[in-house]
Symmetry: C3
Subunit: 676 residues, 3 copies
């Protein structure tokens, strides 16, 4: 390496960028969005790695016939050989670099390229390595990953795996966009025990039961992917009822306007339930499904970049207490995301999604966020991975880009210290994941015990940040008041499943109030835990904190004040960009809205076999119709003792503040007595 190379500012080996990068790699990660199958989280052969749709679709794009890849008769080794034969055209891609990094990191590969002369040795060696019974744990450990968010179908039983490592998330594409399909309604009835009878109550009860199920099993987010044409707005009861009945009677033959109205009604109800249950609602905005229907599996979706967050104006205004981590598919939408997150307390920037998940788009999008969005409102990255091995290289790509942005725009341009830049990096890489998606109550001890890593700093951080939650506000004697009103008390009369309440009692309830109050307590708990003292509190800071009284108020007024105001000042018409999906066959329209999701437990044909109903991989769903039994691990309980005292007595002078207190703002310095 000559001098010119060494002094290159982008060289990772020297200078601020490399120092920052080194520090960031030592941070133990929580991956806030993936498609990992918790029953088979890691790969078994290289076919699981090379079968990732990025390689099949790029190889197909470069000329490999689909039949070369998706013939069921192809064994894993043959599949790898075939794909390796098509990799040359992809060697320039970022996706290819993930592959090589996986091979080098986990399987001792020492070359730069994978080709027909070296693949077989690697295949055999890697197969024996992956055969280890502890392979999943090994990958997590080598990748410095503590936990991984999942993408679960709504009827997932969520059983048989450690929900502290594999954190459930409720994926709702099917409910919003495919409820006209008989099989989707059948799955919903089967898992909830509630048959849709044409009443809006049955619809709401079904959806609510799913929230109870998911929250009781540790779900930390509701999520959905959305086509660019969709604009979420409320649908009145009359219209919704008509639409529901039309769909129940005619299924996918129902008029498109009915299906669309039902989609919006379901979406809005989900947002209400997120509000009620305190779940963040991940919005992944912009995908058109099946644009290239002859493409390989999962390689058929594209987009129209002409989408605007103005379409979400009414949603963001109507649910000030719901956190909306937003992912955008096209980089052109990133500036709007930055601006909306800069203004709306409940809008959070979330990762770099799919077609924007390559270095140059990440670089420009991350830089724009870091310079204008509050640092507490940015989730830097998620892997979106289907197999654990991909978490490392994908996060590493992000870390490198992030290090460059921090080195150039903060250390160099703004004169920050390396330490301060790393602090910001830590916030978007890890801390905010915990703040924005708080751990369910009781998970703290176990999570901290899990964090035995080489990185003492990182391992101790989780416990600190979670152990002192809710305390910070009280530091200087000020009583911070949190808002956790339930905006939807009326519709809960049809609560069907008593065992759900029981589960929640074990898990979440503090007092003896009925289920509808449970979710409020849960929300309160979530908000408590989302508070933080500091990006990286020193041990001394933690010691000094006195656990003071934090008042939790049940402000029983419905919080739809702002929604009401909004309906007067904001019109609900989206920008009319025409009907991209106009089709005589409503079923086709809905098919195109099909959400990406999850995974397939069928290991033998991991990338090759789709769910017959949905065209995508799914976990087997239980047949138990909602009467799941869950066993809480002992570690869930003791941490209750660490919770700060809580009370539901409101004080009159703080009621006004409550309605304003949209997110978990905390004046966490030691002199916040101004608020009292």
């Amino acid at each position: 390496m000559n001098a010119a190379t060494m002094s290159d500012s982008s060289n990772v080996a020297h200078g601020p960028k490399s120092e920052i990068y080194e520090a960031l790699t030592s941070i133990r990660l929580i991956d806030p969005h993936s498609h990992i199958n918790p029953h088979s989280p890691a790969s078994k052969t290289l076919a699981d790695v090379l079968g990732y749709h990025y390689y099949t679709e790029l190889a197909h794009s470069a000329g490999m016939p689909k039949s070369h890849i998706e013939d069921k008769a192809i064994g894993p080794k043959e599949l790898v050989e075939r794909l390796v034969g098509g990799l040359q055209a992809l060697e320039n891609t970022a996706q290819y670099s993930w592959l090589i990094e996986i091979c080098r990191t986990f399987f001792g590969f020492e070359e730069d390229r994978l080709h027909l002369n070296n693949w077989e040795v690697l295949y055999d060696r890697s197969e024996s390595i992956m055969a280890s019974a502890q392979w999943s744990e090994t990958v997590l450990d080598q990748s410095n990953v503590q936990a991984v968010f999942l993408t679960n179908d709504f009827d997932d039983a969520l059983e048989g795996f450690d929900t502290e490592t594999y954190i459930p998330c409720l994926r709702t594409d099917d409910l919003v966009f495919h409820l006209a399909k008989p099989e989707v309604r059948g799955r919903l009835a089967a898992c909830t025990g509630i048959e849709l009878d044409g009443s809006l109550e049955s619809l709401r009860s079904s959806l609510k039961q799913r929230f109870e199920h998911f929250v009781s099993r540790g779900a930390r987010a509701c999520a959905i992917s959305i086509p660019p044409t969709f604009t979420p707005t409320p649908v009145g009861d009359g219209r919704a009822s008509t639409a529901l009945n039309a769909v129940l009677q005619q299924g996918i033959s129902a008029d498109a306007s009915h299906q669309e109205a039902l989609s919006r009604r379901v979406f809005w109800t989900l947002a209400e339930l997120c509000d009620e249950f305190g779940l963040p609602f991940d919005l992944m905005i912009g995908v058109n499904r099946q644009v290239y229907p002859e493409g390989v599996f999962q390689g058929q979706d594209l987009y129209d970049s002409r989408v605007s967050l103005i379409q979400y104006r009414e949603l963001f205004n109507s649910f000030p207490n719901v956190k909306f981590p937003v992912s955008v598919l096209a980089s052109v939408t990133n500036q709007e995301l930055v601006s909306y997150a800069w203004i709306f307390p409940n809008v959070i920037t979330n990762g770099h999604w799919w077609y924007s998940n390559t270095p140059s788009f990440i670089a420009r999008d991350a830089a724009a966020r870091l310079e204008a969005v509050p640092q507490t409102k940015q989730i830097g990255y998620y892997s979106d991975a289907y197999k654990l091995e991909f978490i490392w290289p994908k996060f590493d790509m992000y870390r490198k880009v992030l290090s460059g942005v921090l080195a150039d725009q903060f250390v160099s341009d703004r004169g920050w210290s390396i330490e301060r830049a790393v602090e910001l990096g830590r916030k978007v890489l890890r801390d905010n994941v915990e703040e924005i998606f708080p751990l369910p109550k009781g998970a703290q001890d176990s999570s901290s015990s899990e964090e035995v890593s080489d990185d003492a700093d990182a391992s101790s951080f989780g416990a600190e940040s979670l152990g002192v939650v809710g305390v910070a506000t009280a530091v200087a004697g000020v009583t911070e008041v949190l808002d956790f009103d339930s905006s939807e008390p009326a519709a809960e009369t049809n609560e069907p499943v008593s065992e759900t309440t029981t589960e929640e009692s074990d898990y979440l309830l503090i007092d003896d109030e009925p289920a509808s109050e449970t979710s409020e307590a849960d929300l309160a708990s979530s908000e408590l835990e989302s508070m933080d003292v500091d990006a990286l509190p020193a041990e001394e800071e933690v010691q000094e904190l006195g656990v003071d009284d934090v008042e939790l108020l049940d402000d029983s007024e419905p919080s739809d004040t702002s929604a009401g105001l909004l309906s007067e000042t904001i019109d609900d018409e989206p920008l009319d960009v025409g009907n991209l999906l106009d089709d005589d066959s409503p079923s086709e329209q809905i098919t195109q809205l099909r959400g990406e999701s999850s995974f397939n437990p069928d290991e033998d044909s991991l990338q090759l076999e789709a769910d017959p109903n949905t065209g995508e991989f799914t976990l087997p769903t239980g047949d138990d119709g909602g009467d799941d039994e869950i066993t809480l691990s002992p570690s869930d309980e003791p941490s209750n003792q660490d919770q700060p005292a809580r009370t539901t007595d409101p004080t009159a002078e703080t009621v006004e503040e409550i309605e304003e207190f949209d997110l978990d703002f905390l004046s966490d310095d030691d002199d916040s007595s101004k608020d009292s």
Copy 2:
């Protein structure tokens, strides 16, 4: 600092970037757009600084309740304490860096962060510093700022301040988008003395009277902010008359189509008056008002980035003699702006507006402009500030980015010398402001006398560039001919206010022609002054210039030839992006178009109290209904002697050229005799 750091190309301390930056900081600025209140231009306490909407909206976005910020009972010191308590989440933002830079530059602050342990000392110290009677002048001087453009309500009396330092600009949002409101019409009648009687003549006369008022007091631009849905096109007299009468009778209850037609008619009339009076028309394109109505004051507006300059096609074609400095809200529109400014002589790139005013967007947008738009057609930056203290850090952010672009893309990539790069930087930072918004006649002596700064180069420049205007064309013996036809002679029969004519006689008239001719002379003057010999003429160049005859022709033919041609070849239908603002209540629609503007003279609640009618700060307007008395400062007069000789005798052979001579193109080299 280690070697790797030192060689970092983005490090300001070394290399071309820092050399360029140093040179650029020595340039005395004219800030071409701000919201400074000339009656109270600087801050009185840190509350004026921290009350800037960037801090309140970001703190609110990070979780601080609106009531924490906007309660009228909060005193300035308490407000600062509260906001400081919410700053931690914003420490990453560019806006935060402005704050720290202000504190360090003006108040001796030596830390990197403002927090609850150090704010009070700073508050007290800064308060005593700001108490100086000369504080405004001190800030201007320390910031190396010569003059600041204002944003004045249409009924601003423009009295009581030095219009050479604080340059009036006519903000027209209210007139275009809110004329349906009785209070706006009331204000218009009160300041003009003209009651709208349903005739288009009364409308035009009112508007024209405002132009006369503003121009007579030194206004240098007409300005407006525009929602993404608006497409300016002409409205025929019949349609306009119907619309005006509907609005007069029904106010904000008038049908939305009437209000929209009236908006377009008023806008078009303003463009005609800009043409007549020689005022540039600043277009700030793309804002949606009150997207987040529950947001803090001035923190409610967002946008739909799906806007195109194709919507302005007919406008740009119809007014070839009006300069349109265009600001776009979203960076995605910047390439269109670059392309339109590259093709249309009358389109000028203007600054980096609001949500695009952070370093990474500035960097990419500025780079795209510098490489493709003629250097004479770029206004690099404006502060948009509400208080003088912000001009320095905002311009400094721009200077740093600009230095980086110049160092990387001109010095390094294209082999330019540092000096040449600085020359280009000076052009976009300062020179073009004077060229595009020429100083009113008579302001030259005083402005040059104001320019006593450390930077001899910069201080002498203003006088030079202004002293020789109009002369350059004559250098080589060629007689350049300027076009200053009045395209709207017919509608001026209703001229109401004789005192306006008197004022103008004092100020602008050269001959004894009636008022309508006055504006033509003024336009001619503007065009004269917008000429320049060179980006930075050496003293010798100035000495060598002989003041030759420059002929000013009154080409009485209406100049709407091109507009006429246009109507045949260009259709006036904008891209239909649907009706974002469709609402049963027309008043709501209009409310959403509400323009940003100006300032509030109420110092005690500067950021906290809005105009009851408009929701925004306004200067008190005189009750004198248009019969303002103005007193011209002595400095306005003498410089008349410096004006080159002018004549209104046309020469036949140059008439043809006139129509082509859209902008102030000048072949300013010494061998331009080819044109004769």
Copy 3:
């Protein structure tokens, strides 16, 4: 130069960027898109250089009257003097740097600026240099350019020039968007000998005859520029017939809906013919014509950046065997282009077009492509030049940007060697041009003999890559099967011109099958030649290749299977962005769609005189009505001997693969036997 400057990472003089740049400059280029006039390819005076629309439109934008530039009375020397007088305002632009680089490279100019004091010496010197009889060849040689693609009007006789150096391309804007004009239909009838009689057969026959004419003369692409509002979808025979008859009867007065339907029908037929003839279909998407009708010649077009490739969904799905090299006008569309090329095998990224052809847009767009699109599917750059002198500076601008991207994002960020980065650069700069637009059969020998340049590497490369085409698949004994089905056999009964068949027999036919089979063979030939062993095969690799049997299958089944499927799953409604072109006069509408094109052989008024019918420069078209005689150069023949053996016998087990084999994918490693 101080140390800081030297270590600047963007400095070309040192480090990886400069090493890569040096290597890239040695690559002999094929320019895949230009407007060169093969009858007068190089400039005769500086007026040809300065008359390029970039200079006239920028000078006009900066203030120079159109009459200053476009008066026919202006001689070339006077024109240069005038334009030089207006250049100062443009000195910052990338376009200006092309000019200076031309003057320095070709005319010994040693200054940085061209001005009124130095232009005349340069003018005289350059005129004498350009007077050389070999000037065109000299420019090509100095520019290291082997061949240049043209832009030919559909009725170009394609005679009188060397089609191996100047490669014909069929530009189809007139046919698609202006067939309503009588003069266009007249030209079509004159060149084809087929009169449009109202039958769709006559339309198709006319178009097909043009393909036969162009392909027989070595055309390698069909091309079109498209406004943002256009969405190509099929038009049924009934609708098309109605539209055609309406247009035939009423011309440009026909209803706009008829003209639009006919446009879509013609476009779709062109795509079918591209499929049949194996021609790539260059799509240049996004231009609005005559947005500024008063602008200078070719300086009137702009755009609406709100266009999406979703509009091309049905096209891309319906023609899996047609390669679509896509250019986008606005950088904002680049990410869609990247994503569509990443997913669709037949979408290829193509160059940096017009308003995106400046360094900062190239940098971001190229980076995004290089990291996510298969390296075989990227055409890095084309010059778009009107005169040969511009190829060098434009490509050089691209090479510099490309070198920077490769150095930063591949060598530095991803640890690639310089050599590997250069290999990727060579692929997008040169190799892919040959792969995607294969040379007509027989052109190989002559092209390699032409490549005698100083650069041994480059000169030998062309021969290698072309000499071994079609061989790679056989390396390891595997028989690759190529798909070249004819999807449109039915419509060919009206084949009119026997002489065309004769020409083709001379040129393309291998067996004695009729003309419709000819094109299949041609396609097969194209696919053969588009194969490649390696990005840069070593001599040894070439030696080791055994020429094995490569089977070419005639899969006689129509390939519209996927189109059929598509019509069920994809709706053909484009995003409705309204009617930008709504106008009472259909002729005006069509006028605005007028395609850019070609050149004018009238040297004396090169930039100043337009075709009276079309407003653009055109080559004189022969009056021979289609009975052209062509003389093939001897060099076309011998290389046939180098072709690998071909057979049209299909083997049953490979038919299935054929339909999947959309592009020329090749598993070119030595162990690809898996496919057999």
